[in-house]
Symmetry: C2
Subunit: 117 residues, 2 copies
DNA sequence: ACAAGTACTTACCCCAAAGTATGTAACCAT
DNA sequence: ATGGTTACATACTTTGGGGTAAGTACTTGT
């Protein structure tokens, strides 16, 4: 009966970082290999699920919907479905999602200046 | 003939993301729970190893040096050691590291506006 | 003699995120 | 009736980031 193990110095640390560090808060939302790329593609306007898939060929379908769902929960992305015969589902950025432009942009600026290697 | 397994769709994807996505490039450098926090503490000026340790009590020593080393390799942080009796090692931000201020700041701005929940 | 401080290093474990593979429901064209 | 398209779902495996715990070398204070 080796105890419940508490399993969570990790979660505790995550907690303090999240509540005490706004940067970590943001990175929770746009972290993960694919999220920034998905957001980037949605910046140019609403896209269908299949359009996103074709625009990002390397992503698996699992990762694509998984991230789209997380971003819906985080209110970065809106999903609009038409109950038609072959389903038509359109994803677009919410206001919060669009506001991320400034964040991503400052990252790009930094990368351009400091991406020499 | 189920292929050689390649061991690395992961690394391959990481590769394309890194070379094709400047945002991912940046997140590789400031990602991880502790890096933004360490950078934040170094923003207010150079700090000794033990000062950082005390400033961020929850971090383990392993994580602290690990991240400090990575950030040295990424040229975000400079290490200055004095060869004195009890070692004195001082860490400070490089120009690149200081430039991250704008990036972190835009994240904070976004978090303040969209961190309601 | 022994604890305490300074700046690390090393071996080991755990879990959650990412990837693989396959299935599903509804319809349409051939 | 068979295959293709659309938008998912779900079970299983892998991997690497993060954590735990302990050790090192050298010196000062008591």
């Amino acid at each position: 009966m080796t105890a419940v193990k508490e399993s969570s110095t990790r979660n505790f640390n995550k907690g303090i970082a999240l509540t005490s560090c706004p940067v970590t808060f943001v990175m929770e939302k746009i972290g993960g290999y694919w999220k920034p790329i998905i957001i980037f593609h949605l910046m140019s306007g609403p896209k269908r699920y299949s359009e996103l898939k074709r625009a990002i060929p390397q992503i698996t379908e699992k990762m694509l919907i998984q991230h789209l769902k997380q971003m819906q929960n985080d209110d970065l992305v809106r999903r609009d479905a038409q109950a038609v015969v072959p389903p038509v589902v359109t994803y677009s950025l919410t206001k919060s999602g669009q506001d991320l432009f400034h964040v991503l942009n400052s990252m790009v600026d930094w990368a351009v200046k400091n991406g020499s290697v």
